[in-house]
């Protein structure tokens, strides 16, 4: 029998960026918040031995332990889904701070085009630009409405950046100036300027200077230490929930964070979420945490799985396109080109997670698609994140992958190779979705999430087009050998690509075609908010967290409004057939 705990105002499932933001905002507003986090607590002092590539990068010490819980995967519905037995393609976080501890910190705002992708595409190119099998739609919120929340996240995280002529318009400057430029970045900036493009320094959560945020939390200056992506920052110089929103929530005295607490069910009574059931993973005891508002902040995968597991919302059915939970799973397409330089050596081992330069000339609808048979594009960047020796063994193609020639070439090119890579947008397709696996279970006996995903024609065309541009940039940069990225025949779960999974609990203006409204409140359960990139209707041409942060601040405001007005749907659904 589960022990029933005292009721709280708000409970969050997971304490990463989104859980931390909800906790900080609601506790500041005077509400009691319980944060349930499956992993352990951790803070800057736990990162003294962090410069260990083998432990943290190769063996994912800070990330989800898939021996307890993973996903199953297949490329299409005709295949049998099999478990992802080892982490690979993406690296979900686990523990206080979530993936926000070991992210890079590249912090973007999605474009106005992203939020109104369907109406803007239709208006410019006619409604048949892509076939019906592509289920892209508007997000139910405009950029103007979302802009203040982007800024709120940037202020809290202290983002270092500069004006971007091709980016989303800004009413305010970045809180801190851009990071230092380097010869690697300058090479890219010069080449793209020569080509008539508009390079900028990448907006970064590795801060260019010491900073105090509006909540009084301090973030230190980045040391360009080169152990950033996949590592915690031993200096407290990378904005993470652990150095910003979590201490803010804790200082109110109203945040009760429970670690080693795995939520296994959202309890729904009378059409409303009334709490969650969780397991203390140390003692094995079960508890029920009642709450006025339940907030899923457990990342895309578990946000979707917990709804399916708890029978909340209508599961998506790819046969007829009906249902919403699990729909519009998207990822990130990675066009790019590598360049090998015979006579130049670069300080590739130095760097920071978001030390980079970018052009947005081929992102969104910044270029004309009239004569192209795909939509969208991607931001094109060079980054200098700190190249490490186990994971990086770069050789021109045709080189064997082991033996004398491999050794010679991989040593030679280790500091003589640069890459230009795009974060390509991912447009939803009817056949790309998530549901529950019929066979495989997690440690607690619950069904694993099943991912059905493959690249589409749209993805291939986008990839090809943007890869050509990356190749031209590399040529202008003067590389001796240029190798353009090839798209595999199918999406592969094994090699790391990005931890930019999106969709599953998408937002929108209509309860028929979306799961949450533009406050991320469930249409089917007014006391349940589902926060994260799970709300993305498609994935844009950038890393997601700037937009995730904005949506989390928006949701926090909605939750407060909901509590103040004593319940009810905050938005009226467009279609009349659904309850509002």
């Amino acid at each position: 029998m589960a022990t029933r705990l005292e009721k709280t105002d708000v409970v969050t499932v997971g304490v990463g960026w989104t859980g931390g933001i909800i906790a900080a905002e609601l506790t500041k507003a005077g509400y009691n918040v319980v944060g349930l986090e499956r992993g352990e607590d951790r803070s800057t002092k736990d990162f003294q031995m962090i410069h260990d590539e083998y432990r943290y990068d190769i063996h994912h010490d800070l990330m989800q332990d898939v021996s307890k819980e993973t996903i199953t995967f297949r490329n299409n519905r005709d295949e049998r889904a099999l478990p992802m037995r080892r982490l690979g393609s993406f690296l979900p976080g686990s523990g206080v701070g979530g993936a926000g501890v070991h992210w890079n910190g590249q912090t973007w705002r999605f474009l106005p085009y992203d939020l109104q992708i369907k109406s803007m595409t239709d208006e410019k190119y006619g409604s048949g630009k892509l076939g019906d099998e592509y289920t892209y739609q508007d997000w139910g919120i405009s950029y103007e409405e979302l802009e203040p929340y982007f800024y709120q996240f940037e202020l809290v995280a202290g983002i270092s950046g500069e004006d971007n002529p091709k980016g989303a318009p800004r009413s305010n400057e970045y809180p801190t100036p851009p990071m230092k430029s380097t010869p690697i970045l300058d090479k890219f900036k010069n080449a793209t300027s020569n080509m008539g493009l508009n390079p900028i320094q990448m907006p970064s959560a590795n801060l260019s200077e010491n900073y105090e945020n509006p909540d009084g939390q301090t973030i230190a200056q980045c040391q360009y230490c080169g152990f950033c992506e996949r590592f915690g920052c031993e200096y407290g110089a990378k904005s993470s929930p652990n150095v910003t929103v979590i201490p803010t929530a804790q200082q109110t005295g109203k945040f009760d964070m429970k670690t080693h607490s795995e939520v296994v069910e959202v309890i729904q009574e009378g059409g409303k979420a009334t709490g969650v059931r969780f397991v203390d993973t140390v003692s094995g005891e079960e508890f029920i945490q009642p709450a006025d508002v339940v907030v899923l902040t457990s990342y895309v995968l578990n946000n979707t799985r917990l709804l399916l597991q708890s029978n909340i919302g209508q599961p998506y059915n790819p046969e007829n396109g009906q249902g919403v939970v699990g729909k519009n799973y998207c990822y990130q397409i990675l066009p790019g080109a590598a360049g090998f330089f015979e006579d130049q050596k670069f300080n590739t081992y130095m760097g920071a997670g978001s030390l980079g330069a970018t052009v947005d000339d081929y992102n969104g609808d910044n270029f004309d698609h009239s004569d192209l048979d795909f939509i969208h594009g991607g931001s094109i960047s060079i980054t200098q994140t700190g190249r490490r020796p186990i994971g990086s063994n770069l050789t021109p193609s045709g080189t064997p992958s082991w033996g004398p020639e491999f050794k010679k070439q991989s040593l030679n090119y280790h500091n003589r190779t640069l890459s230009v890579v795009a974060q390509g947008a991912s447009i939803p397709h009817r056949e790309n979705f998530m549901d529950l696996d019929p066979t495989y279970k997690d440690f607690y006996g619950n069904s694993l999430l099943r991912l059905t995903y493959d690249f589409t024609e749209q993805d291939r065309k986008l990839h090809q087009h943007i890869t050509e541009v990356c190749g031209e940039i590399m040529k202008e940069m003067g590389a001796d050998i240029i190798e353009k990225n090839q798209m595999d025949d199918h999406y592969d779960i094994v090699p790391y690509q990005t931890t930019h999974n999106t969709g599953g609990v998408i937002m929108g203006a209509d309860a028929e075609t979306s799961a949450v409204n533009n406050y991320l409140q469930m249409w089917d359960s007014e006391s349940l908010f589902v926060v994260g990139a799970s709300a993305f209707v498609h994935n844009g041409g950038y890393n997601p967290t700037g937009t995730v942060g904005a949506l989390a601040y928006r949701a926090a405001e909605g939750i407060q409004q909901y509590l103040e007005q004593g319940g009810g749907q905050l938005v009226k659904s467009k279609s009349k057939s659904k309850l509002t």
Partner: protein, 255 residues
């Protein structure tokens, strides 16, 4: 290295303190305080770690790390050693897998978390998947290495009537290539999966922090001109020239 390098280290530590604003008002939390104060380099031990580490320990006596905790007989271990050396051979650039301590690294890893698949999902049912679905064997890595090395010897005997360790380099490469291309059959796992693990752990042993027993004397890092774990590149990040540095290991963070 000694004095010059130590001097540089102290400099960069002071520089870091300045840059981080630590003196300016305790911006940084206890973690940094602890680590900065904890990173006193003990001159004696520092010098000793720079010495030859392959077979000697810190006090000039034997390196007690050089013993086996997973493999039970020397033939298997020597077969493993020979195979890793073919993957990452000694050449003009520097030592190969054996001198870097890679076989000991692999032995030690197989005895622990890595060999036991502690962080892999191991629930059944097990089915062979498509190439896009990744590793699906029911075996632990330690079993896979045993099985792989068994078949490696069998292949050597079948095609050359001799032990793998006695074959010449071309013959050894030929057998390893068969594993890589799934031209031999292993029980419970694809030969290419075993080969992938062998390659992956050889490179890890060559380049992981020396605390794991490989990358002897940081020679792996030196070959890649990788300076290991430095505290800060604040002063070098803008440099037009390639900056060569004496590498540092995690050892320095504690001693």
């Amino acid at each position: 290295m000694a004095d010059e390098e130590k001097h540089k280290t102290d400099e960069s530590r002071r520089q870091f303190l300045k840059n981080s604003g630590y003196f300016a008002g305790g911006l940084v939390g206890g973690g940094i305080l602890g680590s900065v104060i904890g990173w006193q380099v003990d001159e004696d031990t520092q010098n000793q770690t720079q010495g030859e580490q392959t077979d000697q320990g810190n006090q000039g006596g034997p390196n007690f790390n050089r013993a086996l905790k997973f493999f039970k007989n020397q033939e298997e271990f020597q077969r493993l050693s020979a195979a890793t050396e073919r993957i990452f051979p000694e050449d003009d650039n520097g030592p190969g897998a054996i001198k870097l301590g890679v076989p000991y690294f692999i032995d030690h890893e197989l005895a622990g978390e890595y060999g036991n698949n502690d962080r892999l999902y191991m629930n059944g049912p097990f089915h062979e998947g498509t190439p896009y679905q990744g590793f699906q064997s029911r075996l632990k890595r330690k079993q896979i290495f045993k099985e792989g090395l068994r078949v490696m010897e069998q292949e050597a005997q079948n095609s050359h009537d001799d032990s793998f360790v006695n074959l010449d380099q071309e013959q050894q490469d030929e057998i390893l290539t068969k594993f890589q291309n799934d031209e031999v059959k292993l029980r419970g796992v694809k030969a290419s999966d075993f080969f992938g693990m062998l390659r992956e752990s050889t490179l890890a042993g060559a380049f992981a922090d020396p605390l794991y027993g490989g990358n002897t004397n940081m020679e792996g890092w030196r070959m890649k001109e990788f300076p290991g774990s430095q505290m800060s590149y604040m002063d070098e990040i803008g440099s037009e020239e390639f900056v060569e540095m004496e590498p540092r290991a995690l050892y320095d963070h504690l001693h």
